[in-house]
């Protein structure tokens, strides 16, 4: 219809209505559309429109969105006393797109098939937590199935864990907990047309997820699903687009683009500069926070980083303002002094063991270096990726290089091709001494944020290792175990915060910043919900009418 150039145009009638087509403009195609292969924390994205899971995240703005709520199950799970057995009951009246009922066996099958090597890609927790799952090869090779999962009846499912895990409800948000009807499983081909349990079904999937068309699933009942709003009738996902083009299209908002959103493209610094100068555009920007930290990692096995003084000196010398600028400026990055993201759900406890101020404290750094025997300065090599992601990329590395110069530290840059970079930093043997890294939350809690990085038992000698500081400290390990037992998530969060502070003093990492996501959406898009769980615009909530 005729475009109303009034700024209030989109806000005039802000109550969302059903109907219309939502366009999604993405850069990455949905080439993995199999629930077994996705590594998402419940997903605010396209898959969550098709896949329902036992639990899901609360679809609300900000911090409220970082909570777990029931989805297919009637509650978020009932633990036994030490949180090693979790029981779920399915809601009544759950159906697939073809009208067949969803059973607990289907959920079990869904979890099992995620163990098949053909369908690899998911997060490691199921394998680590479920009893006897370590060598399970999936239902294709191993017909017996996983004994750790019991389905006493069609609506009940029980999980047996090998250790207490109070955060199991968070895990149950992952797409591996999606029901997959065994009779419809086509193995690696399943992703072309996964059977929907959610509000939409796939009616078209071209070029391996490049162009998807989703339509209302008539067998989905809103009554069983209070989380997903599902306003539009149809969702048209176009991917493989250049990110600057996506933002251009969203800002132009012509034709179908006026009802468009993106689930994977942020505003870059340049685009932000342009958008902030334009009031109308600025009103169409959603801001999101995601549990994510960009940091410098040290390998204390490599000289001179074996010396805590050197690590501390570097911590003091960091100029976070120029790093933040390199990452896109204060609107796109918040300086970080803690490893845990600054969100309550993570148990954020502010601390700054080596206060560098905004622009670094080179004097203090020099002093420490002198104490460590490097009076005449120091030359170190900083390893980074060459992928232009503004996180571990050359831009950040050069900003650090410039800042450390003031403290008498000469930084040589070693930029590696991204695969090479990952191979190196995640290999115990080849790990460089000083490199850029980042870590994101699998769910909004301190557990999956701290354990892989600092739990000594998670050091992987012959595979991908994330404990880059090679920290194996009994007190840390024990505290992790103790917190995992807690099923009171608020209490657990507090303990994670305290643990973070304790580890922070060891100067094994230098937190740099937490990214902030800014996303543009089309002029006719309504009901913008951005939770702190993923920081992205929730596609299940938007309306175009």
């Amino acid at each position: 219809g005729p475009k109303d150039s009034d700024a209030k145009g989109s806000g005039g009638d802000s109550t969302p209505h059903k109907g219309g087509t939502l366009t999604v403009l993405n850069s990455q195609p949905q080439s993995d559309f199999d629930p077994a292969r996705l590594y998402t924390s419940g997903g605010g994205n396209v898959p969550s429109l098709v896949f329902r899971t036992l639990t899901t995240r609360n679809r609300e703005n900000g911090a409220a969105g970082a909570k777990v709520v029931p989805d297919l199950a009637t509650d978020t799970g009932r633990p036994n006393k030490d949180a090693t057995v979790w029981t779920y009951t399915l809601k009544k009246g759950l159906r697939y797109e073809d009208g067949t009922p969803i059973t607990s066996a289907d959920i079990k099958y869904g979890v099992e098939r995620s163990f098949a090597p053909e369908l690899s890609g998911g997060a490691p927790y199921l394998r680590d937590w479920l009893v006897g799952a370590a060598d399970y090869q999936g239902p294709y090779k191993d017909k017996k199935g996983l004994s750790a999962i019991g389905t006493p009846d069609a609506r009940t499912i029980v999980f047996h864990l090998n250790k207490p895990e109070g955060e199991f409800p968070f895990l149950a948000t992952q797409t591996q907990f999606t029901p997959v009807p065994k009779g419809k499983d086509t193995g690696t081909k399943y992703e072309a047309h996964p059977v929907s349990s959610g509000p939409y079904k796939v009616v078209r999937n071209e070029n391996d997820g490049e162009h998807l068309v989703l339509q209302r699933n008539t067998n989905w009942s809103a009554a069983t699903d209070p989380e997903r709003k599902a306003y539009p009738d149809r969702i048209d996902v176009r991917s493989g687009l250049d990110s600057s083009v996506i933002n251009q299209r969203l800002s132009a908002s012509q034709g179908a683009d006026s009802t468009a959103v993106t689930t994977d493209t942020n505003l870059g610094p340049a685009e932000l500069a342009k958008v902030t100068g334009d009031k109308k555009l600025a009103a169409r920007v959603g801001t999101g926070h995601f549990g994510y930290t960009d940091y410098i990692a040290f390998n204390p096995k490599v000289k001179p980083f074996d010396d805590p003084k050197v690590r501390q000196a570097i911590s003091y010398a960091i100029d976070r303002s120029s790093v933040v600028n390199a990452a896109g400026g204060s609107a796109l990055a918040e300086p970080a002094t803690t490893f845990l993201p600054n969100q309550k759900s993570f148990g954020y406890t502010p601390y700054d063991p080596f206060p560098a101020g905004e622009t670094g404290n080179p004097a203090k750094a020099r002093e420490l270096l002198a104490q460590a025997g490097h009076k005449n300065g120091l030359t170190v090599t900083l390893t980074h990726s060459n992928d232009k992601d503004f996180e571990t990329s050359p831009e950040i590395a050069t900003a650090l290089q410039d800042a450390l110069k003031k403290a008498g530290i000469t930084v040589r840059l070693q930029g590696l091709e991204d695969n090479d970079y990952r191979d190196k930093i995640h290999s115990v043997r080849a790990e460089p001494g000083f490199f850029l890294a980042h870590w994101g939350a699998d769910w909004p809690s301190g557990g999956p944020f701290l354990a892989p990085i600092f739990d000594g038992r998670q050091i992987v000698k012959d595979g991908a290792n994330f404990n880059t500081g090679l920290l194996d400290d009994k007190s840390v390990n024990d505290e992790i175990d103790r917190i995992n037992k807690l099923t009171d998530l608020a209490a657990a969060a507090q303990r994670w915060g305290a643990l973070d502070k304790k580890i922070g003093e060891k100067a094994l990492v230098v937190p740099l910043f937490h990214p902030v996501y800014k996303r543009l959406y089309g002029s006719d898009v309504k009901n913008i919900v951005i939770s702190d769980w993923t920081g992205v615009l929730d596609i299940s909530q938007v309306a175009v009418k």
Binding site: S244, T276, D319, N325, Q401, L413, G415
Partner: protein, 354 residues
């Protein structure tokens, strides 16, 4: 080609040194073209700027790597504060968004890498392309088939694949700019040159003068150098000038694979690639390297054209250059007929208009 290079190499040196007569006349013909001279001056200036980069930045009082966070607006993605990207007495061409590094310094330092790598790569591409093209044009069916297939293979290999391979094989201590030039040269450009040269060679080799040269006892190789190269010079020089911008962007592409020059060393290609999204918010960030590149390419093209014309002895009369052989004779010819000045001289058009 060889003449051209000899003459270019002699640029600035005393031309009274007894040079080969060919080179000498080449020089005269080149000097007769004003556009080419201007272009040569621009190219020389660019090279000079690249060489004198430390001096120029010292004059400005800046360097290409220091961050100036106070000069950018962090809240707005890091756009430079002030007009035209923060142009002022301290920063002649303003500063870079997000970092506040000095644009002028980055531009002149960038010239070093970009000109060095692209010219180096161009030389290799042209040498390789001409060698392979001539060889397959002149060689027998087998030589031609083998060389053509090899060329096909290289055209088909994507830059990424080759870059990755070399990255894995070449030790990291290897000088980067050289590596970059070699990769660029190997993966792109030379094959096109080779194809073109082969096509030209096939045409030229049927001409009697090539036959005559072979009858002189020259080997095929020498025949190629003496008789074919001058005739190939026109398309090759023209194409070489065009390879320069391609090589500059190839360098930029490689730096993202980790094979390019290492940051924070600037290069025009890198500046261009990171600046494309900025052209609405900070246009000068994109325009400056783009302009630098354009001026380079334009100058190189005009110069290349000048060299091409100068290499053609038939152009001498069109350019109205004396052959220089009997300059003194000119005075004597005034005797019979109307004085030369009174003769309606043809308009100084370069072309013959029918």
């Amino acid at each position: 080609m060889s003449e051209a290079l000899a003459a270019v190499g002699a640029a600035g040196t005393d031309t009274s040194v007894p040079a080969a007569p060919g080179a000498h006349q080449f020089w005269r013909r080149l000097r007769a073209q004003r556009a080419a001279l201007v272009a040569a001056a621009v190219v020389a200036l660019l090279v000079l700027v690249a060489l004198a980069a430390p001096l120029l930045t010292a004059l400005e009082g800046q360097d290409p790597t220091t961050y100036h966070p106070s000069l950018i607006d962090s809240a707005r993605g890091g756009v430079p504060i002030g007009s035209f990207g923060g142009v002022g007495a301290d920063h002649w061409l303003g500063v870079e968004p997000q970092t506040g590094r000095d644009m002028f310094a980055r531009l002149v330092y960038g010239a070093r890498v970009s000109l060095g790598v692209s010219l180096g790569a161009t030389v290799v591409q042209v040498a390789l392309g001409v060698a392979v093209g001539v060889a397959s044009g002149l060689g027998n069916r087998w030589v031609d088939a083998v060389l053509s297939r090899v060329t096909d293979i290289f055209v088909s290999l994507p830059l990424m694949v080759m870059a990755l391979a070399l990255l894995a094989i070449v030790p990291s201590g290897f000088p980067r700019p050289v590596l970059v030039a070699v990769i660029i040269a190997l993966v792109s450009g030379w094959s096109t040159t080779a194809k073109m040269v082969r096509a030209q060679t096939l045409t030229l080799k049927n001409l009697d003068y090539v036959a005559a040269s072979r009858l002189s006892g020259w080997s095929i190789g020498r025949t190629a150098v003496r008789e074919l190269l001058p005739g190939l010079a026109a398309p090759v020089i023209t194409y070489a000038a065009l390879l320069i911008p391609q090589n500059i962007s190839a360098e930029a592409a490689l730096s993202f694979l980790g094979v390019g020059v290492k940051p924070p060393t600037p290069s025009w290609g890198q500046m261009l690639t990171s600046a494309d999204v900025w052209y609405q918010a900070a246009p000068q960030y994109l325009l400056l390297p783009a302009l630098a590149l354009f001026v380079t390419v334009f100058a190189m093209t005009v110069l290349g054209d000048g060299v091409r014309v100068a290499l053609d002895p038939r152009a001498a009369s069109r350019l109205r250059v004396g052959t220089g052989r009997k300059r003194e004779a000119r005075a004597e010819t005034a005797a019979p007929g109307p004085a030369p000045d009174a003769v309606p001289a043809p308009a100084p058009k370069e072309e013959e208009r029918a």
